[in-house]
């Protein structure tokens, strides 16, 4: 008889070989570089006309329509001048599109989408996570690969990315791809949605980087080499932003009793039903 709870027996190995497949790791960093270039060069392009109204008209929905860009924005520019910004934008867009397509294709074909697509219980779990982060709840909610808030963010980011790319194509080729431009409500609106979705993705990315640094810096390693120790997971550390950043060496981590108990129950269930 095999020992209950040995890695070969347990239905979900406690320590998968890598946390993120190399395709995910490569596309993650490629997208990060491409998106940074796209934002920097895109802001430079936007600065040439930081408004949305068609000439001779007004625009309803941009609160800064009649104001120039704030001075600090030029620190973020890539490309220097308008032509340079455009060259960077139209070069890096292929890197973004390519890595996005490879990522989405891989996640679909390899089954990773199961860790990302929301389920029925996710809103409730997300609420529990929010409670935990706000000190309303003491213990870290149980989670799968990601907690429910993370999962939501990682599910929404590619969708916003697709909107960014499509609206971008719509304003790059408003005549050749006129049907696409029309789909977004014409050139002015496509440009607006391009800008709004950029802001949304920047906010999501900033939130993501903040949470990585403040809650799970160990995940940086998992996104570079793939290696990750469950003992260091936020769940095991009961980690909130800036709380319990270091693993607790003295106390036994929370994950240990869980991982020891769960496989035993499963094997005994299987043993009971098999004959």
């Amino acid at each position: 008889m095999t020992t209950p709870g040995s890695p070969a027996e347990s239905p979900t190995p406690a320590h998968p070989r890598v946390r993120h497949h190399w395709v995910v790791r490569v596309t993650h960093w490629a997208s990060a570089v491409a998106f940074t270039i796209m934002v920097g060069s895109g802001l430079r392009i936007f600065a040439a006309y930081p408004h949305f109204a068609r000439k001779g008209e007004t625009f309803c929905c941009f609160p800064f329509e009649h104001r120039p860009l704030p001075g600090w924005v030029h620190h973020l520019y890539i490309g220097g001048w308008l032509a340079g910004g455009r060259h960077w934008h139209f070069a890096a867009m292929w890197l973004l599109i390519l890595s996005g397509l490879v990522y989405l294709g891989f996640v679909y074909l390899h089954g990773e989408w199961r860790d990302l697509v929301p389920r029925r219980g996710d809103p409730r779990d997300a609420l529990e996570m929010a409670k935990f982060y706000l000190f309303v709840r003491k213990d870290h909610p149980r989670q799968g690969k990601h907690n429910a808030l993370q999962k939501g963010a990682y599910f929404v980011m590619p969708i916003v990315g697709v909107v960014i790319v499509l609206t971008g194509l719509a304003i790059w080729k408003p005549v050749s791809l006129g049907w696409l431009t029309a789909l977004f409500g014409g050139y002015v609106w496509a440009r607006y949605w391009h800008f709004v979705s950029m802001v949304a993705l920047v906010l999501l990315a900033v939130g993501h980087v903040f949470m990585v640094l403040a809650v799970d810096p160990y995940s940086i390693r998992s996104m570079i080499t793939g290696g990750y120790s469950e003992r260091l997971s936020p769940e095991a550390r009961n980690a909130r932003p800036f709380y319990h950043l270091l693993p607790r060496w003295g106390r036994s981590a929370r994950a240990t009793p869980d991982s020891a108990v769960a496989p035993v129950t499963v094997t005994s269930d299987m043993g009971g039903s098999a004959p």
Partner: protein, 275 residues
Amino acid sequence: MIRVRTIRLVERAYEALRVRDSLRARALVGTGDDSSHPATNMNLGRRDFLAAGAGSLAAALLTACDANPRGAESLLRFAERRNEVVERWLLRHTAMDHSRARVAGRAFPSYFISSSVPIWDPAVRGPWALEVSGLVARPLRLTLPDLLALPQTRQRVNHFCVEGWNAVADWWGVRVREIARLAGARPEARYVDFQSFDAGFHESWDLESATHPQTIIAYAKDGRFLPPAYGAPARLHSPVKLGYKNTKYLTRVAFQAERNGGYWSDQGYEWYGGT
């Protein structure tokens, strides 16, 4: 701040290269077995390649902060050439731009590169005529009454500026396609140069865009003959190219086998400049 960081990145990449070189030297000295060399070399070669890649990426990011990208220039030029292939493939003579919006009227921006509004003075330059020449069977000199006598195209279309704004106007004029037919453009004519009396301003186009059914030599805007600010007596107008490609104050349409840049393209803006 960003520059300092990227400089450090470059330094670190070079440092990595140096360390690996010395490692490789040691590996070569240490192993007496010749058969192991190719494998060792290949492995280190890949690492060198990765380090060099990181260095060039850092260099690219570094120059991105400059007004004049140097290291990345060839990469960006390569991307522009690739993009042109895509843009030409996307261009369809059936893809038309239509606008039902109100015309911008006086809100339609106007510009010229001369120090003051270029005005054709017949007393100095003689009567204005549009010269059609180059690789044509029948070179033409078309006066304004000649143009008016040709089949008239009227269209309410967008004008897409490279800066990001668009403006709507009614344009009346003659299709370049019609001019090409009249003059008998030869099959080797793959490009068309549109020249002006505005301080030598010109822009050359690919034949496909020039003969798009919405590319016209316009002599009237919003139902009136062109005012000097908008390019009198005749100008090029098309929604399929960005505003800067649309030569105003036309003097000459030259069919040619080679492209010869243009005022803005020579300064670094995309030569194709399509929409």
